[in-house]
């Protein structure tokens, strides 16, 4: 095959290493026995992994993040599914406009979205609350769900739905019995992407919460800004290992 030069391959390898470098670099720091962020010399300790289980700080934030991520990903996926199926069924003239509107939160700079959501929550008195945070996350992650579900629907044969209707299924029956089962993988992908996006959301989260409701990204942020607690390294290593496992498992399945 053409164009696989040694030199190009070498540089591609370097570029790949560049992408992995900061993730690998964190690992040794998580095993330091010292109180501050440092490279362990000879002595190793798991104390910073144990610190993650402190119910007042890290564990509480992991709980908050999990709760917010589950709530917002389920709501976002449900709304995105309803919207996408609506578009697919009715093919409205305003479809392009509506899809553009729904995808706005991806295009608009995150910091501008953050100011808008801060304004909204300040007006309705939901700043720094779980419902307010869930609402903001839904707005920010729903475009990803919509993209995944519209993609799944575009591969669905329209005749299936027409046949179901023709055989006497009501609209609701055709949605629940024909459309949804056929796009279940797309739905799962939409939910999973939005779960991860919400779990990691930091730009808007930093604006709309932080005193009563402290998500994991917010706590990491505070630690990075104030002092470098090695617990951040331990948390990072756990997240890196989990992500790597998911990616490798998914790879080996296909």
């Amino acid at each position: 095959m053409f164009g696989r030069s040694r030199l190009g391959g070498f540089f591609a390898g370097l570029a790949g290493l560049f992408l992995l470098l900061p993730l690998v670099a964190v690992i040794p720091f998580s095993f330091t026995p010292k109180r501050f962020l440092s490279m362990p010399d000879g002595e190793y300790s798991l104390r910073h992994y144990l610190a993650i289980f402190d119910p007042d700080t890290w564990l509480a934030s992991i709980g908050t993040s999990t709760l917010v991520a589950i709530l917002s990903s389920v709501i976002a996926t449900a709304l995105a599914a309803a919207f996408s199926i609506g578009i697919w069924l009715r093919r409205p003239a305003s479809g392009r406009f509506l899809i553009g509107l729904v995808l706005l939160p991806i295009i608009v700079p995150p910091v501008t979205s953050a100011v808008a959501l801060y304004f909204l929550l300040a007006q309705i008195g939901l700043l720094d609350t779980i419902p307010g945070l869930v609402l903001s996350h839904v707005v920010m992650i729903v475009p990803f769900s919509v993209i995944a579900i519209l993609g799944a629907l575009s591969r669905l044969d329209r005749n299936l739905e027409l046949a179901a209707r023709n055989l006497g299924a009501s609209q609701l029956q055709s949605i629940f019995r024909v459309i949804l089962p056929n796009i279940r993988f797309g739905l799962f992908a939409a939910w999973f992407v939005s779960l991860v996006m919400s779990w990691e959301e930091s730009s808007v989260t930093l604006f709309v919460s932080g005193v009563n409701v402290i998500t994991l990204p917010k706590r990491i942020w505070d630690n990075l800004r104030l002092d470098l607690d090695p617990a951040v390294a331990a948390i990072s290593v756990i997240m890196i290992v989990a992500t790597t496992l998911v990616i490798l498992l998914r790879k080996s399945e296909t």
Partner: protein
């Protein structure tokens, strides 16, 4: 029981699917577009009515410095991101099966990992007495300037954007018909010539969308610059955060947010025009 429930008609008849269709757009109009209108209102009413905030943004020396810095940091990180991403996308699509799989792993592990964790990784490497200065010292380069500076910010931003830039490029590269490349080879073009004169021009649409996307992303981004710049390399998006929460100047923060949005839409509009011209030229 469930059977019976499904026998029921959709409660609103044909308008049921209309409700499904409009639920999300209406929520977004209320929870996103309308608040944005409110933000725009803030920008011209706080602290007092008028265009004071915009005048300050346009004429203030401090803001001009921030804009100039933002422009060149974002341009430079985009310019570094694109070749790295192109190289990786190329070997992801065209490389041997094994290399392609390795590159895919290198792309997607960072892609899915929190931006904070990635910035933290660079803090560990780049801070004073961090790994980078140790390595430099081992090569006899003492006193290499690392830590919180503009190069750290650019490194972190490039690292964040490379995986995003790869995706549009790879999707265009996948659609390139390999028979065209074989034809060029068959007609006597040297392999390097095939790349420069056939493959690269055919992959350019992907490069353009990656370019627009990367630049727009870099403009609105404040988490990585704030952590790696440590308040010394303030970019536009970070200054929104500072105005809102550190100096509590909501009107000014809102105005900056509006300006950022206008700039992003202008770039989008321009890039679409460029693409259209590109398409016209190729016909």
């Amino acid at each position: 029981m469930i059977e019976r429930r499904f026998q029921l008609r959709w409660p609103l008849g044909a308008s049921g699917s209309l409700l499904m269709l409009w639920a999300l757009p209406v929520i977004l109009l209320l929870a996103y577009v309308l608040p944005f209108a409110g933000v725009t209102l803030w920008s011209v009413t706080r602290p007092e009515p008028g265009f004071e905030n915009y005048v300050r943004i346009v004429t203030g020396a401090d803001f001009q410095a921030i804009f100039v810095r933002t422009a060149w940091v974002c341009l430079l990180s985009t310019a570094i991101t694109i070749p790295i991403a192109y190289l990786l996308a190329y070997y992801w699509v065209m490389g041997s099966a094994r290399r392609s799989r390795l590159i895919e792993i290198c792309i997607f592990i960072p892609f899915w990992i929190s931006v904070l964790v990635r910035a933290f990784g660079w803090v560990v490497i780049l801070r004073n007495n961090g790994l980078a200065s140790d390595v430099a010292a081992a090569f006899g380069l003492n006193g290499l300037s690392t830590g919180r500076n503009v190069w750290s910010v650019i490194t972190g931003m490039v690292h964040f954007m490379v995986p995003f830039a790869i995706l549009p490029m790879a999707s265009v590269m996948r659609k390139i018909d390999s028979r065209v490349l074989l034809a060029a080879l068959g007609l006597g073009c040297r392999p390097l010539g095939v790349f420069w004169r056939v493959y690269l021009p055919m992959s350019l649409p992907g490069v353009f969308s990656a370019l627009a996307m990367t630049f727009i992303f870099s403009l609105g981004f404040f988490v990585t610059p704030m952590i790696l710049g440590g308040g010394r390399v303030v970019l536009t998006a970070e200054s929104v955060f500072v105005q809102m929460f550190q100096t509590a100047n909501w009107g000014l923060g809102a105005a900056l947010g509006v300006v950022l949005l206008v700039v992003v839409f202008a770039i989008l509009w321009l890039s679409q025009r460029v693409m259209r011209i590109e398409q016209l030229m190729s016909r």
